[in-house]
Every structure is written in structure tokens, then in C-alpha cells.
Amino acid sequence: MHVERLELIDFRSYHHAVVDLQPGPQVLVGPNGVGKTNVLEALHVLAAGGSHRVGGDEALVREGAQEAVLRAWTRDREGRGQEVSLALRPGGRNVARVDGAGVPRLRDALGRVRVVLFAPEDLALVRGDPADRRRFLDQLLAQRRPAYHAARQEFERALRQRNALLRQQRLGDPAAQAGLPTWTEAVATTGARLVAARLLACHALADPFAARAAELAGGAPGATPGLAYRLSTDRVEVADGGVQEVDPQGLARELAEGMRERAEEERERATTLVGPHRDELRIDLDGRPARSHASQGEAWTLALALRLAAREVLEEVGEEPVVLLDDVFSELDDGRRARLAAWCGRAEQVVVTAAVEGDVPLGGPRLLVRPGEVQASTGPDEHREARGEGDHGDPGQKERP
């Protein structure tokens, strides 16, 4: 799918802005701090329900405003149009609408706009803590398999219950010991579901990740990248595109066994030490952790390859996501820039931000971003009329009086 138009009302730095987008590549150009990233962030919020930069919604609403409204008009492979809007109300309930009609649950509206975003923060995928890479897998799975989010909530609830019991045990409650096997089983069963889903995602990522990393590196001699998943039981499973199935029951037994082995340590620390909350997605270079062994250029390449691979995994079900690249090209050398540009040429829609236009060897329209507004740099009306649109309200109105 692609997004034809995005409207932002009281979102971040924008009073009211309308951004017209095209299929294929396009570049948002403007100096630092004018709000280029906010446009990509808006699309990410519509897709995922939240920002990639901040936890809460407060920062997303323009100062002095009560709520922010985001609205996107999309068109899918078969040419069907859809309008998705989301009102962000910090302290209240966010409200989503699809084609103007309210939806009972927020998540019924999410995922209709599909995006894969690569931002400077993604360097943490390579350099950051295991938690950063777990979050990457969790976010990918939440988009790929809607039941995953609920499974995660179940696991976290079981984990909190078991940790509460371990604390009671440390305080000398004799009944806690008797209750432990039940919660060990609950954590193992619910945890195994998450580990199974993550392992499958990891295996599915293996081939696209290797292909994209090799493509970006352009055949230059260098270390071979790979993915692996390290379980909290210290077992490492190397990602392998050939693996299609994972046995959750076996994983549940492995987790339960792990907890029994570390019972002593868990009792002392009064916390659960085995489970998906202690796992790690490992990015390797020649079998060594890229976190410590990748150069800066390699780290960017690997993080980017992982995001592009995620896009391919997402595409297996449903529509092709829009690719959002936030200030990426300036970090890459000329060869990588050209190869990333070639890859972008194959995607249905790509939106790129850049402070310096010359950094981006991509065709497509340029959109000039100034504080509070986004304008097509050449002939915006030609694009619209050529595609027979004009029914999206008043396209001339860029800013609310």
C-alpha cells in the first residue's frame, strides 16, 4: 500500500499541515529541527499506535493544544482507498476512525497504515542493550501476528505473579514454596509462546537480512553477518531460513527445566531469571557479536539491513509497508548510498528525510519542510490532477488561520 495524503493537526510542531505523497521515492528536505522527522513519526504513530521516539503521547501534542489528530489516506494494491485517523488525547482515550466511522478497539484501526521506519535511533539495534533488540522483535511480531501482543501481556502477568511469590518466599512465607511449581509452569508455558514466535521471526529474518546486508555492502570483502537467538537457558539457536516450525511444548519444558536448575539463585535474588525477558537477539559478524566488533559504517549497514529484512517479513502477510528512512543517507558512504537508492527504487513507496538534498541519490519529488508546513517544491497540483484526485478536502489549505 501507499499513503496518498497525510494530515497533521496540532501534532508536534505543526498547527495544521497537509502532506501529499506519491508512490515511489520522495524526499523531505529542510534544515535540522524544522519537523521532517515529525512527518515520519506521524506515519509511524498511525501504523503502530505510538511513537518510535518517546513512550507517552504527551510530547506528540503541540504545546497548548488538547489533542493531536493524524489522518492518512491510503491506497492498496488493488486500488482501494481508505482513510484512517487517530486522535491522540494525553490523559484520555485515543480515538481511531476508519473511513470516518469509529472502531470499537484502537487496534482495529492500527496496522491499516503499514510502515517500516529506519531512524538514527536504530543504531541501538547493533550497539545497544539486549533489551533494544528484544523490543525490535516484539514490535515486528506485534505487527506480523496480532495475537502476539496479548500473549506478551499474559506472560508479563505470569512473570509478575511468580516474582511476587519469590519475594514472599524470601520473606519466609512457608506457603510460597508450595505455590512455586504452578507459577513456574505458567511462566514456562506463556514464555514459550513468546520464544517460539520470536524464534520463527528470527529464522524468517535470516535470509532477507543476509541478502540486504550483502547488497548494501556491495560485494566488498568483509565479515559475514548473521543472526542468532540466545535463550535465557544459554542455548543459542542460529537463525536459519529453512526452519519453518518451532515446538512450543519443547521450549516450555526447556524453560521449566532452566528455572529448576537456577532455583537457588532465583530464591536469593527473588526474581525470575529464565524466560523471554532475559533472551537476546544476537547480530553477529563472523560469529562474533557485532555490538563490539562492527565498525561504525558496518553497524549502520547491519541495522539498516535488519530493518529492510523486517519489511520483507511483514510483507508476507498483507500489504507492502511504506519505507520511511530518517536521515540515513548522510551516514553512508557513496557506494552504500547508491545501493540503498537502488533498493528504494523497487519499493512501492519510500519517504526519505535529508538536511542536505545532495546526500540522497534518489529520484522523485522533493518536499520542502519549513517550520509548521510541508510544500511540494515543484508543481504539486500537476501530480494530483494527473492522478484524478481532488476530493480530499481543500488541498490549498496548508495552515489553519
Binding site: R157, A158, A176, G179, A186
Partner: protein, 198 residues
């Protein structure tokens, strides 16, 4: 600012009820102020008599007016099947189906360490005592499908296994008569995992 005297007392008391916030408490209190004295009296009587006359069945711990509840007094029901539920309201839900003709055992909640509820706080000892004479051949565990309900089911199965009684658990899956597309992802996923051979 608080109101004077009895009206504030009423608002405070109503506000302590589950699901009633300060605004609702205030609305209810002022509504009660306008109703007939007889209607208000009826409500007051209902509240007092629920505390005075309702107690827990000595056998199954369902709510009851006498020492034994309606289900335990009913001689036409089977003593061989025992259905274990969390709360009295679950008994009512199952009774509405008219399908189950055995007896019940009400645990009084589910295991939840975060709320300080362990097996000792539930009527598990009483359940084991009821099963000791061997009259019951099947125990249906009908705790909720929440994580706490599942944990309680797994705890009970561990405790009851040595007794050699047949243990069953209610199936989780699709609502009957509904469209597949309206089922939420979790329920549908659970139904998929628990699919049966035709």
C-alpha cells in the same frame, strides 16, 4: 467541598462500592434523595437482609439462604461429577446452560500472589475433603481463562492427580453462533491451537 450530614455519608458509602466513582456516587445519592420513602426503605432492607440472611453453603460454599444451597439440596442431581469454579456467579452462569447436572465447589477466587491469595486462602482443603470418600468420579475444572484461573487449574490438577479421579478442563475457543471474523485474535488463536479431529 463536602456536603452536610447524611447526604455526604451516603456519597462516601456509595463511593466505596466497586465500579462507583465520586461522580456516580453523588448522582446515586441525589437520586435516592428524590425517590419515595418506601422505595428507599426497600433498598435499605435488601442491603441489610443480604448481610443477615445470606451465607455460604457448608458443602460447596456457594451463596445460600440456609446451611445448604439449592444445588446441594437437590436430590435429583448427580454426586459423581463435581464442577470447580472461582465465584458463586460462575455457578449461576453454568446453571443457566441447564446442561450440567452434577454438584459444584466454589473456591472463592483464584491463586494470585500479587493479591496475597494462595491455595490457603481458597477452599482447596475443603475440596480435597469432599473428594476423599471416592463418590466423585470426575472433577470439571471451570476456573476462568485468565492467567490466574489457568494457574489455579494447574495447581488443582497437581493436587488432585494422586486421587485417581478423572480431571477435565472446560475448552476454550470460538463463541457459538458468532462469525469467525468477529472473534478476537487471542480467542481465535486459542481455538486454532485446540482444534479437534473430525
Amino acid at each position: 467541598m463536602d456536603y452536610e450530614g447524611p447526604i455526604q455519608d451516603l456519597i462516601t458509602e456509595l463511593g466505596r462500592l466497586p465500579g462507583i466513582g465520586p461522580k456516580s456516587a453523588q448522582r446515586l445519592a441525589f437520586h435516592l434523595l428524590t425517590v419515595d420513602a418506601t422505595d428507599a426503605r426497600r433498598l435499605a432492607d435488601a442491603i441489610t437482609s443480604v448481610k443477615e440472611r445470606v451465607r455460604f453453603c457448608e458443602v460447596c460454599f456457594n451463596v445460600s439462604e440456609g446451611p445448604r444451597c439449592r444445588v446441594c439440596r437437590d436430590e435429583r442431581r448427580s454426586d459423581e461429577v463435581l464442577c470447580v469454579v472461582e465465584e458463586p456467579r460462575d455457578v449461576v452462569a453454568i446453571e443457566r446452560t441447564g446442561e450440567f447436572r452434577g454438584r459444584y465447589h466454589v473456591l472463592g477466587g483464584a491463586i494470585s500472589p500479587l493479591d496475597g491469595i494462595g491455595p490457603a486462602q481458597l477452599r482447596v482443603k475443603e475440596l480435597l475433603a469432599r473428594l476423599s470418600d471416592g463418590a466423585v468420579t470426575e472433577v470439571v475444572i471451570a476456573t476462568n481463562t485468565s492467567i490466574e484461573g489457568e494457574a489455579t487449574a494447574s495447581y488443582l490438577s497437581r493436587q488432585l492427580q494422586p486421587l485417581g479421579v478423572r480431571l477435565t478442563r472446560l475448552a476454550a475457543g470460538l463463541p457459538v453462533g458468532g462469525d469467525l471474523e468477529y472473534a478476537d485474535e487471542v480467542t481465535l488463536g486459542r481455538a486454532f491451537a485446540g482444534r479437534t479431529q473430525l
